[in-house]
């Protein structure tokens, strides 16, 4: 299975919604604490197990997250640790990139999510406690959602309801928002510790999963959010990112500071169905391909990006 080595520490990896073999990787120098960053757009060549880099964009500060546009196949947005977001177009020559720099957040932008239904807008989650809504054609944000009391780590659009999204924050809550409403519509105080990631189930729009510093992942039904549907334990350290499978209702993948990537089926008694420990440093980014069933990618602070098929060992060539 192909491996890609990045010069900087990996932070996030995302499959392109348009091309099966294309991914974007967000990296940051010195573990994202200080230094530059780089966004790589890489391609899995169909024939050989080699990953090619199509293009890379350098940034002044670490890139914490990256998101592909759902409307243009060559456009991606990068969340930079200096509070700005850079929009890149791989179809344009390097001198023309970044196409746009969106700077409004007062602190690091930690999470991005592009609206898969409406395809015109995206959200940014920042350590300045706010979430902002943007579109590509406007230089300023459309909305600012400021209710969290601490860093917002992650934000996720609901796959079915185009105006609903969730934000996960270090204030130990997940808030559900509707962009049509001025404030959040629900608060789930899901964990006793910071919540680092959240994601909606792609088949049941009422299920949301949260991943926390308390090493657990909890699944919540927003219709009855007092008690989690399920709690998934098994990670040895904080869980950094989770993603529900676009192909299987009950499957979700998570990566953690314990350097493993785990696969879970939350409807099953013994939920842990797969564990990959290919990383030698914190595993901080993971993604599942929408276009290819079972294709997953992960990246970590060990500067490696792995892309593999579920069930196989990521390290085998």
């Amino acid at each position: 299975m192909p491996v890609f080595k990045t010069p900087f520490n990996g932070y996030s990896v995302r499959f392109s919604p348009f091309y099966e073999s294309r991914l974007a990787v967000a990296t940051a120098q010195n573990f994202g604490i200080l230094g530059n960053g780089r966004v790589h757009v890489i391609d899995l060549s169909p024939s050989s197990p080699v990953i090619n880099e199509l293009i890379a964009f350098d940034t002044a500060d670490g890139v914490y997250d990256v998101a592909w546009s759902e409307s243009h196949d060559s456009v991606l947005v990068a969340a930079v640790a200096d509070g700005s977001m850079k929009v890149y177009d791989t179809a344009l020559p390097p001198q023309a990139n970044p196409v746009r720099s969106l700077k409004e957040h007062a602190r690091e932008v930690h999470g991005l999510d592009y609206n898969p239904t409406r395809r015109d807008s995206f959200l940014s989650a920042s350590w300045d406690d706010s979430v902002k809504l943007w579109t590509l054609d406007r230089p300023a944000s459309l909305r600012t959602f400021r209710e969290h009391a601490y860093c917002v780590y992650s934000v996720a659009w609901n796959p079915k309801h185009a105006d609903v999204f969730a934000s996960a924050s270090g204030d130990c809550t997940v808030r559900i928002w509707d962009v049509r409403e001025p404030g959040s519509t629900m608060i789930i105080p899901g964990h006793e510790h910071e919540i680092l990631s959240c994601d909606w189930n792609k088949y049941d729009e009422c299920l949301i999963a949260t991943a926390s510093v308390d090493k657990s992942i909890k699944i919540w039904d927003v219709r009855n959010y007092r008690v989690p549907v399920s709690a998934l334990n098994g990670h040895g350290y904080a869980v950094r990112k989770i993603k529900f499978s676009p192909h299987r209702r009950n499957l979700l993948v998570s990566c953690s500071y314990d350097m493993t990537v785990c696969l879970w089926d939350f409807m099953v008694e013994d939920a842990l169905v797969g564990r990959y420990d290919h990383h030698t440093e914190f595993a901080v980014g993971v993604d599942l391909s929408v276009l290819v069933d079972g294709l997953m990618a992960s990246t970590g602070w060990d500067e490696l990006v792995y892309v593999w098929q579920q069930g196989m060992d990521p390290r085998t060539a």
């Binding site: 200080l34 720099s101 230089p139 904080a238």
Partner: protein, 686 residues
């Protein structure tokens, strides 16, 4: 020398390839990694200028003519780390500073292959002498703190801080740089029951709306870590809020009624977040959740000192008790998880009950609920009777009489109107709204009704509904009707309405009503200073309007000028001694200052006059909980006023003269003084 060691606690001093059992300083490993990796990256960094796929130069140097340079934020792009130069600086610096316990780590670095000198065209950065600018240091500190918290989640805050400090020392960053504060773990309990009040997508429990607002309106002056104040200020800039509100207004497309319901819900939610923010900033120990037995004992001693001058029997009783013993017990209880959970759970149940009760009582908002067993039914002239009773201040009786009137004549706008006013003064906004809506149906142009509805909706935090009615007031006013174009009614922007009212005020500055409405409007947008000014102007014109004094007091209290507020309420009560709302508001003011036992007295007084004042029951319950008087909570739930009242009879003091010195319940006293002030503030009704 990798992050793995950070996780496994490997020693920073290990020679590459060997392992050691002791972990000296895991974050030292991070320091090494930072230094080491910078050396690793030398080769790659050199290549970048030649890499044609990207054009890093244009991004880093804002003096180029590139379109990129003109992008906002490009001036903030920092130059490449001159890692090479810095690496050697670090080492030199370290040798000079010494004694951080990193000697071994540094030796290890010496053993590494020497840094490649940067040949070739180096990007022209400005290498400062120590390599790291202030901003960089702040950055490192913030980010490493945040990340350290993720990794060391089960360790104490001190451990995390010491790790981060060690890391920073090795990089020669001073410790006095203010790092990002830690997350507010203490919100947990509160969030629990706030969920109850917001998550349900139905009309929210009425009292929850109310008193939440007060939380939110607690301003920053208590101080707190900078970060919180910053975000709070951003949030509360009046202009910012108004414009955001307008944005939302523009986007709402649903029907008016729906909107009304949603807004009510949302408003509560909005207040909740402000609640959370408020609590985070309120440095006053009373408003912070219990953190640990020691801390609490300290707070408690401070509290005692504050209460010295109050010459109450219970204080004397209390001073005989030992603080330490009690604190121990409390600490033990907390350790067992008993207290916190109980308290949060009981509040959960409480809110649950409220919601259920609410759903049971009203199918939808605005349905007036008649009293049972009304002795005035069949009375020949219940309206006159009602008016007399109202003048005399017997509000509950007046309600009954007026209900009899409107049962007899459902189209009697005056009857409904007076009923509405009576309920409002009796501190029952739900009924007040319901009655006023009927009055409005009977007479859509009645100005007092419209004003009253505007005020009630403001109290209920239903901004769009409030705006609608206040705007209607303007439309139907003979003098100002010209100012108000009727087509605006569909999409009311707060800013427009405020502007129109300001015009009206300029048109006739002698009209107290306009100033009153302005004051209400400013309460909506939380511009309390302006609201206070407006009410004061109105009071100059109408000094005997007791409800106006109450409004002034509520506004002052909502904007945290509680001392002034109490004076204003006193004025109101002097004018109308049976003004239930003012009594309740007094109670709230005291509760907000953490004087729970005082507040309880006021609530009891208010309830004695109107046992149907739902809010007052809830506030009472809250104060009882805060005063740790959980046994009385049950009596409170069953609306058993006698049980409450008798318990609160104690201590002769200068406060409400109606309470007589009597049986001091020592136990109760003991618990009262150990109030856990985990709540924030409660809103006052204008």
């Amino acid at each position: 020398m990798s992050m793995r060691e950070l996780v496994t606690g490997g020693t920073a001093c290990a020679v590459p390839g060997s392992s050691s059992s002791s972990s000296s300083n895991p974050l030292g490993a991070l320091a090494n990694a930072l230094i080491g990796s910078s050396s690793k990256n030398q080769g790659v960094l050199k290549e970048i200028p030649n890499n044609s796929a990207a054009a890093p130069h244009s991004q880093f140097y804002s003096h180029t003519g590139d379109p990129v340079a003109a992008l906002p934020g490009s001036e903030l792009d920092r130059p490449f780390l001159q890692s090479n130069a810095q690496g050697s600086e670090f080492i030199r610096g370290f040798r000079a500073s010494d004694a951080n316990g990193f000697a071994d780590a540094w030796d290890e670095i010496q053993r590494q292959p020497p840094f490649d000198p940067v040949a070739g065209p180096a990007p022209p950065v400005q290498p400062s002498l120590d390599g790291l600018s202030q901003g960089d240091k702040q950055c490192i500190r913030d980010r490493s703190s945040i990340m350290a918290r993720h990794i060391f989640s089960d360790r104490s805050e001190e451990f995390i801080n010491s790790q981060v400090n060690a890391l920073l020392s090795s990089l020669e960053i001073e410790n006095d740089i203010h790092a990002r504060g830690s997350m507010p773990g203490r919100f947990r309990e509160l969030e629990d029951y706030w969920n109850e009040s917001q998550g349900v997508m139905k009309p929210v429990a009425h009292p929850a709306d109310g008193w939440v607002t007060e939380f939110s309106q607690n301003r920053i002056h208590h101080g707190g870590p900078d970060a919180w104040a910053r975000s709070f200020e951003q949030q509360h800039g009046a202009g910012g809020w108004a414009s955001e509100f307008e944005q939302e207004q523009a986007q709402l497309t649903s029907a008016d009624q729906m909107r009304g319901v949603n807004m009510g819900n949302l408003a509560a939610i909005q207040q909740t977040r402000m609640l959370a923010h408020t609590l985070s900033q309120n440095g006053d120990p009373k408003f912070q959740v219990f953190r640990g037995p020691d801390q609490w004992a300290n707070e408690f001693s401070a509290e005692r000192l504050q209460q010295e001058p109050v010459d109450d029997q219970w204080v004397n009783e209390f001073s005989k008790l030992h603080v330490d013993d009690w604190a121990e017990e409390f600490g033990r209880q907390v350790g067992e998880g008993a207290l916190g959970d109980d308290w949060a759970n009981s509040y959960d149940e409480f809110i649950n009950e409220q919601i259920v009760a609410k759903q049971r009582s009203d199918a939808s908002r605005g349905v007036y609920v008649f009293s049972d067993m009304n002795p005035y039914v069949g009375h020949p002239n219940p309206l006159k009777e009602g008016q007399d009773l109202f003048r005399k201040g017997l509000l509950s009786e007046a309600v009954l009489a007026l209900e009899a009137e409107v049962m007899k004549n459902p189209e009697n706008a005056e009857g409904w109107r007076l009923l509405g006013i009576t309920h409002a003064e009796n501190d029952d906004d739900q009924q007040a709204i319901a009655a006023m809506m009927r009055a409005q149906e009977a007479d859509p142009t009645n100005l007092e009704v419209l004003l009253s509805l505007g005020v009630s909706h403001t109290n209920e935090l239903e901004q769009s509904a409030a705006l609608k009615y206040l705007y209607g007031w303007l439309c139907h006013h003979p003098k100002y009707g010209t100012l108000a174009p009727p087509e605006l009614t569909d999409s009311l922007y707060y800013a427009d309405v405020a502007r129109l009212f300001n015009e009206a005020a300029q048109m006739s500055p002698e009209d107290a009503d306009v100033h009153i409405v302005l004051g209400v409007l400013y309460n909506l947008s939380r511009e309390y200073d302006k609201a206070i000014a407006a009410f004061k102007t109105a009071l100059k014109l109408k000094p005997n309007d007791y409800s106006l004094w109450n409004k002034l007091g509520a506004t002052q209290a909502n904007s945290v000028q509680s001392a002034d507020a109490i004076l204003a309420y006193q004025q109101a009560l002097d004018l109308k001694p049976n003004y239930v709302r003012a009594w309740a508001n007094m109670g709230i003011s005291y509760a907000n200052q953490g004087m729970y036992e005082e507040s309880i007295r006021y609530y009891v007084r208010a309830l004695a006059m109107n046992p149907k004042a739902d809010n007052a029951w809830q506030y009472l319950r809250i104060s009882l909980s805060c005063a740790s008087r959980n046994d009385m909570v049950e009596a409170c739930d069953s609306r058993n006023l006698e049980a409450d009242a008798s318990s609160f009879i104690y201590g002769a003091c200068s406060h409400p003269p109606f309470l007589v010195a009597g049986s001091g319940d020592q136990n109760f006293v003991h618990e009262l003084t150990h109030s856990r002030s985990s709540y924030g503030r409660i809103v006052l009704y204008i």
